[in-house]
């Protein structure tokens, strides 16, 4: 199976004195569903940031989607990001845009025609059960609804890789269940590779998954 992520002796640091991930070796194959766990401040989000090039490796090598992230040019980085869908705990929606425009963002960036965007946005908002809130702006929605919009945005362009940082951290049970179902669906139906940073792995998950834990700067697979 193709490797979507390949880390060799990967070290990550915010400054040269404070290493967060130290000489980690791991890989994620295409179609995997992966959980990354660890204590607060262990470097879970930092590791996730490195996957979409927001943090460059201090040492070692990191290949994402066949692209070496270490010395990536800005045009290549943009190209890589156009194939990734990202979900954050704090949603990161554009407040002055309506929710349909927020969902359409990756489609606009990828150059889809307006009618294609409209159809896809309709479908996704229906999928996350928010078609009735189409003309609303993010601040008019509840936290759970905003996260569902963020989820729809992450799925809009059928990405090869979905990165989710504590996607259900602030949500009620109903919204959490919906988000996990959407992530499972993306993995099983769209064959997207899914990486989720979380404190708790849900017990009733219907997919087989890999589990990495971070401790003392080391990333290791939990069997």
């Amino acid at each position: 199976m193709d490797k979507v992520i390949l880390a060799q002796d990967l070290s990550l640091a915010y400054n040269t004195e404070e290493t967060i991930i130290s000489r980690a070796n791991f890989s994620v194959s295409s179609g995997d569903f992966v959980f990354i766990t660890g204590a607060s401040g262990s470097g879970k989000s930092t590791l996730l940031r490195s996957f979409y090039g927001a943090l460059k490796p201090e040492n070692g090598s990191l290949i994402v989607g066949g692209v070496e992230v270490n010395n990536i040019s800005s045009s290549k980085l943009n190209f890589l990001r156009r194939h990734i869908g990202i979900v954050f705990q704090d949603y990161k929606l554009i407040k002055e845009w309506t929710i349909e425009k927020n969902v359409a963002l990756p489609l606009i960036i990828n150059g889809y025609a307006k009618d294609v965007c409209d159809i896809q946005v309709d479908k996704l908002l229906n999928h996350v059960k928010l078609s009735h809130k189409m003309g609303k702006y993010p601040p008019e929605l509840s936290g759970g609804e905003q996260q569902r919009v963020a989820m729809a945005r992450a799925l809009a362009h059928n990405p090869i890789l979905i990165l989710a940082d504590e996607p259900t951290g602030n949500l009620d049970d109903y919204s959490s269940k919906l988000i996990w179902n959407l992530l499972e669906g993306a993995n099983t139906q769209l064959n997207a590779t899914v990486l989720v940073v979380t404190h708790h792995i849900p017990e009733d998950l219907a997919v087989d998954y890999k589990h990495f834990n971070i401790e003392g700067g080391d990333v290791y697979e939990v069997s």
């Binding site: 045009s75 943009n78 990001r81 156009r82 194939h83 990202i86 002055e96 963002l105 990756p106």
Partner: protein
């Protein structure tokens, strides 16, 4: 409402800059017209014993635009009733020649001194009257007026620049988040900054239209015309084509520079 407020602060700052610039242009035109007027009424008078060709006088300095001989006929005709014809004929023979030298521009005091030295070199010239004292006073007044206007323009520019810098910080804060989110999904720089440039161009156009409208209205109402006419100066307050182009150009350049600085200063947050 917040967004309207943010637009208004940039529009007001840009409007103030272009409006002040137009005032400066009008004052500069007034000063130049006054300077021209002063120069038209200023001349150096030289006295020669022998008749001198006016071209010879003009050739003595590139600052001399023209030279005219001052006719003595009028003086003599005034004396005709009081003097005998014989004496008048004698006077005609002994009377020196007077020339009025007109200059290319209103000279600075050092230029007058320099010109005087050159003229003194001509052996035919016996006397030079440059009206130095009254000229110096007028010239210094003109310089003072120009300096005050420049200082005024600098002060307004400084204040409005501070306004624009403050506005830039607000914009940076406002647009950074959206630009970071777009970057996260792989939007190229031009796409991330498109909204910012569109907003800044629209604000610049609105500020220009407001400034052009206000100045056109002031021109239509003939604001300041009476005062200018009372000192014998006629000045174009607003040149609809050239001044409008300058106003739009300055407003657009400033807002585009502002947007570019924000794009350059953008730091990815996510």
């Amino acid at each position: 409402m917040k967004s309207v407020k943010n637009h208004l602060s940039l529009i007001i700052a840009l409007f103030t800059i272009v409006f002040t610039m137009q005032i400066y242009i009008v004052v500069d035109r007034t000063v130049k017209a006054y300077e021209y007027d002063l120069n038209e009424n200023y001349s150096i008078v030289v006295v020669t014993q022998k008749k001198v060709d006016t071209d010879t006088l003009v050739a003595m300095s590139p600052k001399i635009k023209s030279a005219d001989e001052i006719s003595t006929k009028e003086v003599i005709s005034n004396l005709q009733s009081q003097m005998k014809q014989r004496h008048i004929d004698l006077l005609k023979l002994s009377l020196p020649h007077f020339y009025s030298l007109h200059l290319t521009h209103y000279p600075a005091p050092h230029e007058v001194k320099e010109l005087r030295k050159r003229l003194e070199k001509n052996s035919h010239i016996t006397r030079i009257e440059d009206f130095a004292q009254s000229h110096d006073t007028l010239y210094k007044l003109l310089l003072l007026f120009k300096s005050v206007i420049v200082l005024f323009a600098i002060a307004i520019f400084a204040v409005t620049s501070l306004l624009i810098i403050k506005e830039m910080r607000i914009w940076q804060f406002q647009h950074n988040e959206r630009m970071s989110i777009m970057a996260m999904f792989g939007a190229p720089v031009w796409m991330r900054s498109a909204v910012l440039f569109r907003v800044s161009i629209v604000d610049a156009v609105i500020a220009s239209v407001l400034a052009i409208g206000t100045i056109t209205y002031a021109d239509f109402m003939k604001v300041g015309n009476e005062q200018l006419q009372s000192i014998g100066i006629e000045v174009l307050l607003f040149d609809p084509i050239n001044d409008s182009l300058l106003i739009v150009g300055v407003a657009l350049s400033l807002s585009i520079i502002l947007a570019t600085l924000i794009v350059i200063g953008h730091k990815e947050e996510v």
